[in-house]
């Protein structure tokens, strides 16, 4: 008898300094890989879009010689397409040129076809055709603060985009600049960094200029977001009007990753790094930390992870899937990728000896 439920499988896309690998699995334990795709190009951003009855993998590609571009595949990487004129292209009047695509963010189910992108130089882009062509967000590009935004070590970029699934609220985080919020779908933006420290500036509590590394929204509590800062882990319960520290209980308040549960209130994951000088897992002991009470307490998760790990985990080199229980995935700059099918309680190594892992994205997809 044919099963009554739709078959599901899992896709894990790993963007590295020298290409993309794509893995598929039925059980999140055994993975089959293809790759490298785009050999010798870095893949700093990936979006897996499971809306519209298909699985579209979009990647930001950057080649040291030939520049950046966006490509997409609707057949799990068997073939790739790239718009002739480029998916992301600065309008002539800006005088700017695209350097790197840092974020590709498919919008909610309720907005099929809408995909957002964050890029370097600091800019936000929106596509309404499934990621094939993007328009520059003029509201943010023309923001009076723009000339004062700075560059982190990796470049000056909008690297986090969080879109409310029902309202016109959009949060963006940039390094360095901090969090900006739009309440009108991106037409206008205001800095929203109250409570986030910028200890490296003369005024440690400026309106903007913070080095927020990653933000993520609580899926179940409206107006609640979490931020991993360049030192500091924060939560807001009022739509980013104010941020409060939730770093107590973590071995270090530095890191790049911030993940939230696809459905459950108060659940988030970070990967602490010792900083500012070292930027390695504290004492070389790699661990993920999860909170189940919105940052009130943290649980150290290291089952299956090695000791003696001296590579960092970058801001987009981590992902969750939407299964129950949720899967957690991350990769290191040493080219190892770990997966957990139980929300981080146990990890298994799914890949090793890859180039530096820059981006990891996972999804549950239809079909075997």
């Amino acid at each position: 008898m044919v099963g009554m439920t739709t078959a599901k499988s899992f896709v894990l896309a790993i963007g590295t300094k020298k290409g993309l690998w794509i893995a598929t699995s039925q059980d999140r334990r055994e993975w089959s890989f293809t790759g490298p795709h785009f050999l010798m190009s870095e893949i700093p951003s990936i979006g897996i879009d499971t809306r519209n009855g298909r699985t579209r993998i979009m990647v930001g590609v950057r080649n040291e010689h030939w520049g950046p571009t966006v490509a997409h595949s609707d057949d799990l990487g068997a073939t790739w397409s790239e718009p002739e004129q480029g998916a992301i292209k600065f309008p002539e009047d800006t005088g700017a040129a695209l350097e790197r695509i840092w974020q590709i963010y498919p919008d909610a189910e309720s907005r099929p076809g809408v995909v957002w992108a964050g890029a370097e130089p600091i800019s936000v882009w929106k596509s309404t055709d499934g990621g094939e062509h993007f328009e520059l967000n003029r509201g943010l590009w023309d923001h009076p603060h723009r000339t004062e935004w700075g560059a982190g070590y990796g470049g000056a970029a909008a690297h986090s985009i969080v879109v409310h699934p029902a309202r016109e609220t959009v949060h963006v985080a940039m390094s360095t600049g901090g969090v900006y919020r739009s309440l009108d779908g991106g037409a206008s933006w205001e800095a929203r960094n109250r409570g986030i420290s910028a200890y490296f500036m003369p005024d440690p509590n400026p309106e903007f200029g913070q080095c927020v590394h990653k933000i993520a929204a609580d899926a179940a509590v409206d107006g609640r977001l979490y931020a991993q800062n360049h030192h500091g882990v924060y939560r807001t319960d009022d739509n980013a009007e104010t941020w409060n520290s939730i770093a107590e209980g973590l071995p270090a308040d530095f890191g790049f990753v911030m993940l939230t549960h696809p459905r459950r209130e108060g659940t988030a994951w970070v990967v602490p790094l010792k900083a500012d000088g070292e930027r390695i897992p504290p004492n070389g002991e790699l661990a993920v930390h999860r909170t189940d009470d919105a940052g009130g307490s943290w649980k150290r998760l290291s089952n299956g992870l090695p000791t003696g790990e001296y590579n960092s985990v970058l801001r987009d080199a981590a992902s969750v899937d939407t299964a129950e229980p949720a899967g957690v995935y991350f990769g290191t700059r040493g080219g190892t990728v770990y997966a957990s099918a139980d929300e981080g309680e146990t990890f298994t190594e799914v890949a090793a000896h890859l180039p530096d892992v820059l981006c990891v994205r996972a999804a549950v997809v239809a079909g075997a």
């Binding site: 080649n63 040291e64 010689h65 520049g67 004129q85 292209k89 600065f90 700017a96 695209l98």
Partner: protein
């Protein structure tokens, strides 16, 4: 000035652009692109002409401001154009232009 629309006689003077093998798939598999030219043209005009039908190739060589990508080198009779007048360097009919990626990366 040469443009893609110029379609001179077979014997008409032209300028050739030689592509590295890695870029040839973006030019329909061609290793040499040719632009008719009655007189000197700038390297920028030459690139415009030979990439008219190859938009992806054009984006690999120059960004959207028209600037030559940092690690793309273009040689005119053996001289890299950055040591000449950049993309404003003039090229004459009969000359050969080489596109070569620089030794970079790791």
């Amino acid at each position: 000035m040469a443009t893609a629309g110029d379609r001179g006689q077979a014997a008409a003077p032209s300028i050739t652009v030689v592509l590295p093998s890695i870029l040839q798939p973006l030019a329909g598999g061609q290793s040499i692109l040719t632009a008719p030219a009655d007189g000197p043209v700038t390297v920028a005009e030459l690139l415009d002409a030979v990439t008219t039908d190859f938009a992806v190739l054009a984006r690999r060589l120059r960004d959207e401001t028209g600037a030559l990508r940092r690690f793309v080198n273009i040689y005119v009779d053996g001289d890299e154009v950055r040591r000449l007048q950049g993309l404003e360097t003039e090229v004459s009919p009969g000359q050969e232009v080489l596109v070569i990626q620089s030794v970079a990366g790791g």
